[in-house]
């Protein structure tokens, strides 16, 4: 039986429908790209991200583990209580090798109770048995090749021209892929907003000429912050790189973190 409707006809219509869907997708992609320019980043009107290049560096030798930075960060950025941190401090305690063991180093005992927010308890081994002990502040490593940006399925997390890696909370779908992809454990899913969150270098502050909250409160200047495109006289970042041999976290992963550490031990991961 022949009818007016042929297979070719139907397939043609299906093809047209598919093409229509693809066009709609392309149009929405273009719209989103335009919206990206006006993304709500917390920056004031008139702020030009191409005129800055923000950077943070950490001097491990100076950190005293007071936890003020963690507390300041939580308050400044409204970070929920519990295991959610944009920055935290780790304590490394390396016990002395046992006599007769003929080793030079024992494995570090690491802890970070409540992110180190309220300081640290007594060390896990008696003071006399400690060979070395130090604190390591952690934050978003501002990778050149951020795995978190790479894997975000909707492009809600992105590199800004001024060096920050930001998340658009109005766009994030809360899939958690970026959290899995971050090798440094810097991201978490905010239990209230149900979106991914991380250190933004206090973008709302730095774009207004202020320092990030953690840098502001650090009593020992262990956190060094600056703008590579607008160096101040006696620039702390410049001085940091002049005076120290630096290392980054997990360099073998090829993420090329822009946050450098001075005085880092091999035990730090």
């Amino acid at each position: 039986m022949k009818t007016g409707v042929s297979r070719r006809n139907v397939l043609g219509k299906l093809g047209a429908a598919f093409a229509g869907i693809m066009t709609a997708t392309a149009a929405k992609t273009a719209k989103a790209a335009v919206q990206k320019v006006f993304v709500s980043s917390g920056a004031p009107k008139g702020y030009d991200p191409t005129k800055h290049k923000w950077l943070m560096a950490i001097d491990i030798n100076k950190c005293i583990g007071c936890g003020l930075c963690v507390e300041a960060c939580k308050k400044e950025n409204n970070v929920p209580e519990g295991p959610f941190f944009r920055t935290w401090i780790e304590r490394y305690v390396i016990p002395k090798p046992k006599p007769g063991s003929f080793t030079t180093r024992t494995e570090a005992i690491v802890d970070s109770p409540n992110g180190g927010m309220h300081g640290f308890p007594e060390p896990p081994v008696p003071v006399g048995e400690i060979e070395q002990s130090f604190f390591v502040p952690k934050l978003c490593n501002l990778c050149e090749h951020s795995p978190c940006v790479q894997v975000c399925p909707v492009g809600a997390t992105f590199d800004t021209p001024d060096g920050a890696v930001l998340i658009d909370p109005n766009y994030c779908i809360g899939c958690g892929f970026c959290i899995q992809a971050c090798p440094y454990g810097c991201r978490f899913l905010n239990p209230v907003t149900k979106t991914a969150e991380k250190c933004t270098l206090c973008y709302h502050r730095i774009t207004r000429g202020l320092k990030p909250a953690c840098v502001e409160v650090c009593p020992s200047e262990a956190r060094i912050f600056g703008d590579l495109k607008n160096p101040v006289p006696d620039d702390p970042i410049k001085k940091f790189y002049e005076n120290n041999r630096v290392q980054v976290l997990k360099p073998h992963l090829g993420t090329e973190p822009r946050v450098s550490y001075a005085g880092m031990d091999k035990e730090v991961r």
Partner: protein, 419 residues
């Protein structure tokens, strides 16, 4: 807002050693739902490959399960996105994955691979396969069901031998396109995990291949399971030749799968890269039941022994025993592959990325990530499949003469009912 966000969430210590503070939450970020997602997707891909054995590779013994395999693939594919959707923080934004995809993300491609596979491959192949039956059934079935069949013809009611032959040809072409598509669908799921270099348990070039192979294994096992259950419900005789063929393919797929997974382990143990110690501890302690018992023993070793022995001494084993061995093997493979997905998804989140500590995980009963929800999501495709079987594999429906004329291979002897 401050009051809400500052609510104290009590965290019970559920980890040993040191874990990053953001990893110290009460649950892993990806829970049981994300275990089900690759499991269901794998069953789809595997069932489709099973159907392709008939269409493309002309394995005549498997003809009785051709349509059942395709309908199985469809039922599971319709549910494949549900676990993902429920687990999102913002499910209402889910379409952004397709509307504004970020092309460097393996997850972003899912929408397209899924849509391609569902609409361009599976639905079209089913349609070409069923069209002449729809035309016939629309004529002989009264009421709503008849209207449904009529609607499903999409107005193409030409059932001349030439038209049917064209249907078969197009279906065959789609099947050929379908095989790489099925591999793509599930290989891509493997790539979601394999591409995470931050996680030494996941970041592995073999991951997509392991996922594809285990998908083929689980899909064939599901077809064996479904076929045996369906014939049992219908009190129909089993086609033992078909079962033997499925058993053979299951055995060989399982051997290849086990070989590649073994290679993966050999490589991990031999290269013993950074993080090996924590992975070793995890395999021995945290994942002992699901890895050593579930995946290796129940899911691989026992079925390989059962099916392997059947390859050698099939003729001397009585039919009833053989059937039971096939059923047992299929069921064990299905359990084993679920355990494998668990080991990948949950296992990858049971150790800290600091490689200094491990976390615990207790599957809860209630809640979105609880096992009740998981059981519901796993039952859903079977419910859909039941409806599909009632509609499209019904015993009371005639199989078309056109199909006969075209030498259509998919006719089940017991399905041909004179009208």
């Amino acid at each position: 807002m401050t009051e809400i966000t500052n609510t104290v969430i009590e965290v019970l210590p559920r980890f040993e050693g040191y874990v990053y503070p953001n990893e110290a939450g009460p649950h892993p970020l990806w829970g049981f739902l994300i275990v089900l997602y690759p499991y269901i997707t794998g069953l789809v891909a595997g069932a489709f490959i099973m159907a392709s054995l008939v269409r493309v590779f002309k394995v005549r013994e498997l003809e009785p399960v051709y349509r059942l395999a395709l309908l199985t693939a469809l039922s599971f594919l319709l549910c494949a996105t549900l676990p993902l959707l429920f687990h999102l923080g913002h499910p209402e934004r889910c379409l952004e994955i397709m509307m504004t995809p970020h092309f460097s993300s393996p997850m972003a491609m899912f929408g397209f691979v899924y849509a391609w596979y569902l609409m361009a491959v599976l639905l079209l192949e089913l349609w070409f396969d069923y069209r002449q039956d729809f035309v016939r059934w629309a004529k002989v079935t009264p009421g709503l069901k008849g209207a449904l069949y009529h609607a499903l013809t999409v107005g193409v009611t030409d059932v001349s031998p030439a038209a049917v032959a064209l249907d078969n040809k197009l279906g065959w072409i789609l099947s050929i396109i379908g095989i790489p598509s099925a591999f793509l669908l599930h290989g891509y799921v493997g790539f979601i995990f394999g591409s995470i270099k931050a996680n030494p348990w996941w970041g592995n070039v073999l991951m997509p291949i392991i996922f594809i192979l285990s998908a083929v294994v689980s899909g064939i096992a599901l077809c064996v399971f479904n076929y045996m259950v369906l014939t049992w419900i219908r009190r129909r005789p089993l086609d033992v030749r078909c079962l033997d063929a499925m058993g053979m393919f299951l055995f060989y797929a399982l051997v290849v799968d086990a070989a590649v997974e073994g290679l993966d382990w050999l490589h991990r143990v031999y290269s013993a890269e950074e993080g090996f110690r924590v992975l070793q501890y995890m395999a021995r302690e945290k994942l002992f039941y699901t890895l050593s018992i579930g995946q290796a023993t129940i899911g691989t070793l026992l079925p390989v022994l059962l099916l392997g022995s059947l390859q050698l001494i099939r003729r001397s084993v009585p039919e009833l025993v053989r059937k039971r061995m096939y059923f047992g093997s299929a069921f064990m493979v299905l359990v084993g592959v679920l355990a494998m997905r668990w080991n990948v998804v949950i296992g990858g989140q049971l150790f800290s990325k600091s490689l200094r500590g491990v976390m615990g995980y207790k599957l809860e009963f209630a809640g979105v990530e609880g096992w009740l929800m998981g059981a519901v999501l796993l039952s859903l495709p079977f419910i859909i499949l039941t409806v599909c079987i009632k509609l499209f594999l019904s015993e009371s429906l005639p199989v078309t003469e056109a199909a006969h004329a075209a030498g259509d291979p998919r006719l089940e002897p017991e399905e041909v009912v004179t009208t």
